[in-house]
């Protein structure tokens, strides 16, 4: 069966390249979501992305800039609400996620052109990525990973204890804003590939799966990239073998790796 797939069709190769690059950016960024207990933040941002798509179309443009803008706006609202310290992060994220989703759905419903492509934005279409799509994703990956390397130390310090980091001189607000913008950019470029419903899973699941084999934060970030790429490869092949939707099968592949990891008798658990 595998032999029938070789030589690989171009669209499969493109899918593997683009998907792998998304996974490599999503893993390390997702590690911090897991460490900061902010898994739901990924959903909040991707729901905001849908709002960005709708607004972009309203202005007659498909530029990812609109998506980044919408995600960044919601992130800043979150930071503003957080300052009051009155509500739990969970609740705030829930309010923002569904607020953004509702705005997005309404804006989209008002426009015939986007409404017909709704499914495309929700679950993406990795098999339709072309050359220019790959360039876009490559650009995103380089900026995301480069940016993360730059804020790695302060972001980790904040993640462990925000007040302590602040007293020690870390610019907490700046670091958080940069991190949120990196996630916004990831979502904006990954949306066409994996869709807004599933992008969070590529941030969370490989990171969680990487935990069991990692002894320090850097290792976990690197393993999460590796596991993400493996999930993309497994998912793309599974999807072409059984003719099932690609995005969901990538996500299920990641979950299979996560579960296999849990079964490993490695004493890395704390």
């Amino acid at each position: 069966m595998i032999t029938e797939l070789f030589p690989l069709d171009e669209f499969i190769i493109n899918a593997l390249i683009a998907g792998s690059m998304v996974a490599m950016a999503a893993g390390p960024l997702g590690c911090f979501l897991v460490w900061r207990r902010m898994a739901y933040f990924g959903d909040t941002i991707s729901h905001s992305a849908l709002m960005g798509v709708g607004l972009g179309f309203a202005f007659g443009s498909q530029n990812p800039f609109f998506v980044i803008l919408a995600c960044a706006f919601v992130s800043m609202v979150l930071l503003g609400l957080q300052r009051g310290n009155k509500f739990s992060m969970d609740t705030l994220l829930g309010i923002l996620a569904h607020g953004a989703l509702s705005v997005g759905l309404i804006v989209i419903a008002l426009q015939e052109a986007v409404r017909q492509n709704m499914m495309y934005y929700l679950i993406g279409d990795i098999l339709s990525v072309d050359q220019s799509g790959i360039f876009g994703v490559a650009f995103m990956m380089i900026v995301a990973l480069g940016g993360l390397v730059l804020i790695w130390k302060p972001l980790l310090a904040i993640t462990v204890h925000e007040d302590l980091a602040r007293v020690e001189g870390v610019d907490v607000l700046k670091t958080k804003i940069i991190y949120m913008l990196l996630i916004a950019m990831l979502v904006a470029f990954a949306m066409k590939i994996i869709g807004v419903l599933l992008i969070t899973s590529l941030m969370i699941i490989p990171a969680a799966a990487a935990r069991i084999v990692s002894r320090n934060p850097v290792q976990m970030a690197l393993f999460s990239m590796l596991i993400g790429v493996a999930s993309v490869i497994m998912g793309v092949f599974a999807s072409s073998i059984w003719d099932i939707p690609t995005g969901p099968s990538v996500v299920l592949s990641a979950i299979v790796i996560f579960l296999l990891g849990r079964l490993l008798p490695i004493g890395a658990r704390t």
């Binding site: 897991v34 460490w35 462990v160 204890h161 007040d163 935990r211 320090n216 934060p217």
Partner: protein
Amino acid sequence: MPKNSTPLLDLVKVSIAFGKRSILQEVSFSVGQGEIVTLIGPNGAGKSTVMKIALGLLEPDTGSARRARDIAIGYMPQKILIEDFLPLSVRDFLKLRAGTTDQDVEEILKLVRVGHIEDSPVQSVSGGEMQRVLMARALLGNPDLIVLDEPVQGVDIRGQQELYQLIERIRDRRGCGVLMISHDLHMVMSGTDKVICLNRHVCCSGSPDLVQKDPEYHALLGLPGEGLALYTHQHNHSHDLHGNVLADEDNTDHQPEESCDHDH
């Protein structure tokens, strides 16, 4: 004590309210170089709030909190909860303070006597060991001012003495200022230069001897009659009779004639 003219930390008439609830009213005190200042007070007295204002983490509604220019501050938070999904060794935790080398980590862990846990995951060390690790973090980078929020919480009695003595030694050696919250005046008595007794406002302050004799202190935290002797006595009882440590409240059942309970 050596005391310079400009204090490291100077709080002047600091007041703050959360919503309508007033937390602090016109709290003033200062910490000078080489000075150990201890904040004591009952639960809800605003000790942690004062500390946050002192550190610049919280802005007071009125009044001011001034820190000397360009001083390095070491901070030991009360507790720290690290997600299990984060693989972090004690060494990695300490190196989160910018500019810390492996050698610094080794030395500072030896100083607080937990050199053996350098490679352990932070989530796996005991409560008492974690206190020492947190203290180590506060001592890194040669701070001019060390701020400690209940530094001996969860540490056994002997360890408590040891840690307080360590704080004193570091003050003596480095001449830094120390501000700490403590529950137990008697334990810190010998080392503290100034005690601030806090209950939303400064009830009384001064040398530990003076504060201990102050009626305001007794109304707030003291024991009926004398302080130190009876306190020690009471402590022995709860150990001797039951073989294990009991909460103070239980004593009334067994030792009514001692009236050894706090007069809350």
